[in-house]
Amino acid sequence: MDLITKSHIEKTGRQIRLLAGLLFLTLFFALFSLGTGSSNNLGLVPTMKIIFGLTEPTGLQSDIIWRLRFPRVLMAIVGGVALATAGALMQGCLGNPLVSPLTLGVASGAALGAAFAIILDFSFIPEVAIVANAFLFSLIVVGVIIRLGSMRSVSAESYILVGIAITFIAGAIVSTMTYFATDAQLSQLTHWSFGSLSRPTLTDSVIIGFLVLSLLPMGLIFAWDLNAMALGGDDFAISTGVDPRITRRNILILSALLTSIIISFTGLIGFVGLAAPHMSRLIIGNDYRKLIPCSAVAGALLMLFADTVGRTLFAPVVIPVGIMLSVIGGPIFMYLLMKHKGGMGV
């Protein structure tokens, strides 16, 4: 076998072992997180025994683990996976390392929906007003993306600019509404915008988990196309057999859906979608066949870590994960950036 081929195969092997290690670490941390909280710190082994049904938990233990912590931990994993994958997909297909799932305006749409529900008491499905509104309003943004994608000469920059425009418009409408809002409404909206994992119930998080799990393989199908688009722009993609216009539109619809499914339930969580893909590039390189799985795992780990710290640091006060992510993830991200000067292409 050719020597260069051999070292490439060895390198791929190392990367896959690294990915497996990261996955194991995430699962381990998830178990740890289930046993940790403001009350009833169980320790790793007892938690594992309860999770795997080896010990019969007391009623209180069962409630805390299955009804409080499990949905939260599951939501952290699923949310991290979805947002980080969406970020990696979007950065690649727009050829821009500054892009995050919030860039397209999906989150602003969701925030607008939430504001309609909270302040104007306007909603399509009153029982789950905020979630339903946030999701449906973010679908409007997905609709704009589809409409934009059907235009002939739409470039990567067009999507980013339109996303920024949507953010401004939605922001202005939300501001206008908050101007007339009561204090209670304001506080509710502010809490929504923090981004928290405490809202989804067990059923919610399992359903979201299935949705995200069914969308993820589609991201992997685009891996080669993303490699071509991330490397050399549209002309290069075409000569490699990728139609950049259609591929970009499809990838953006997929990312927007992933983002809106999560954000409707959790509120604004942005940072993980920017940082996890870049951290993964440092670990595993830019081949999207490996980068997508790695970003997904890194996103889950980052969210779990941020949330676990957030609910133990000032226990019994729980700091929302959206805040903790930026507080913890921000400095880590900056440290990595500076250590690899320009290493993430930023």
Binding site: D2, T5, H8, N227, D235, S239, D243, G343
Partner: protein, 278 residues
């Protein structure tokens, strides 16, 4: 490693691979290409010469559908390019842009592997990897195999992108100024390598390259197309097209042309600009 450049075998196969008929291309009201007609046969290297803005890059991009032509037809092996699935098209034609820049840390090996993209579904086989490794050697890039593409010099990047096109194994190479960032030795080596690849294919491959260096064009092409204001001014063997009067007309530059007696090679000695402004 390097034979004396210039001793080359001129291809003479008549099987037409690429055919361009009545091609017109407009940017808005501006007609960039007017009524372009030509054929390219297997084992042929065609140089496109012309000054800045003559339409060289636009023409090359019309051939592989990066630019959608307004009128006329491009066919590859009798198939209409505008109706071919893009993935099939990229198996027959590969394009090397003037420059490729990226913001992402991709390794040179993976860049070349993109050339296999039209041929593989998702997984790459050891054969694909071996082809990448061999091509890296062919272009003297083995030292760079695991370096980051975004950190290479302009010349290194250019060679990597040419090597990626070779890994794609098409029948037609479209090269937009493939030597613009290369030093003299690497220019010749790269053109020799392309010439070898075309020759080794029997009559299955050909190359079309836009270029500013008239001597490179003369030395490595079987045919020169002189593009002037969106039209083909002359099309034929280098010795017929690269003449004092044509160079003066298109580039506004004086020159002397010397013909070597032992082989077909010719040398263009560039003189002064005829007018200060064109």
């Amino acid at each position: 490693m390097m034979e004396t450049p210039g001793e080359l075998i001129r291809g003479g196969d008549s099987s037409v691979i690429l055919k361009v008929e009545n091609l017109h291309f407009r940017w808005g009201a501006n007609e960039v290409l007017k009524n372009i007609n030509f054929d390219v046969s297997g084992n042929e290297m065609v140089a496109i010469l012309g000054k800045n803005g003559a339409g060289k890059t636009t023409l090359i991009k019309c051939l592989n559908r990066i630019n959608q032509v307004n009128e006329g037809k491009v066919t590859i092996a009798s198939k209409d390019v505008s109706k071919m699935p893009l993935l099939d098209l990229s198996k027959s034609i590969s394009y090397v842009p003037q420059t490729v820049r990226t913001s992402f840390p991709m390794e040179v090996f993976d860049v070349l592997m993109l050339g296999r993209r039209p041929h593989v579904s998702w997984r790459t086989s050891p054969l694909d990897k071996d082809l990448v490794s061999q091509t890296l050697r062919q272009f003297g890039l083995e030292e760079l195999a695991f370096r980051r593409f975004d950190r290479l010099s302009g010349g290194e990047r250019q060679r990597v992108v040419i090597a990626k096109a070779v890994v794609q194994d098409p029948s037609i190479y479209l090269l937009d100024e493939p030597t613009s960032d290369l030093d003299l030795w690497t220019q010749l080596l790269t053109m020799e390598t392309i010439r070898d690849i075309i020759n080794d294919s029997g009559s299955g491959k050909s190359a079309i390259f836009a270029i500013h260096d008239i001597n490179i064009a003369a030395r490595y092409s079987d045919r020169v197309m002189l593009l002037h204001e969106g039209e083909i001014l002359a099309d034929g063997p280098p010795e017929d097209v690269i003449t004092r009067s044509n160079i003066a007309k298109v580039f506004g530059v004086e020159c002397d042309i010397t013909q070597a007696t032992n082989d077909h090679s010719m040398n263009v000695v560039i003189g002064k600009p005829i007018t200060k402004r064109m």
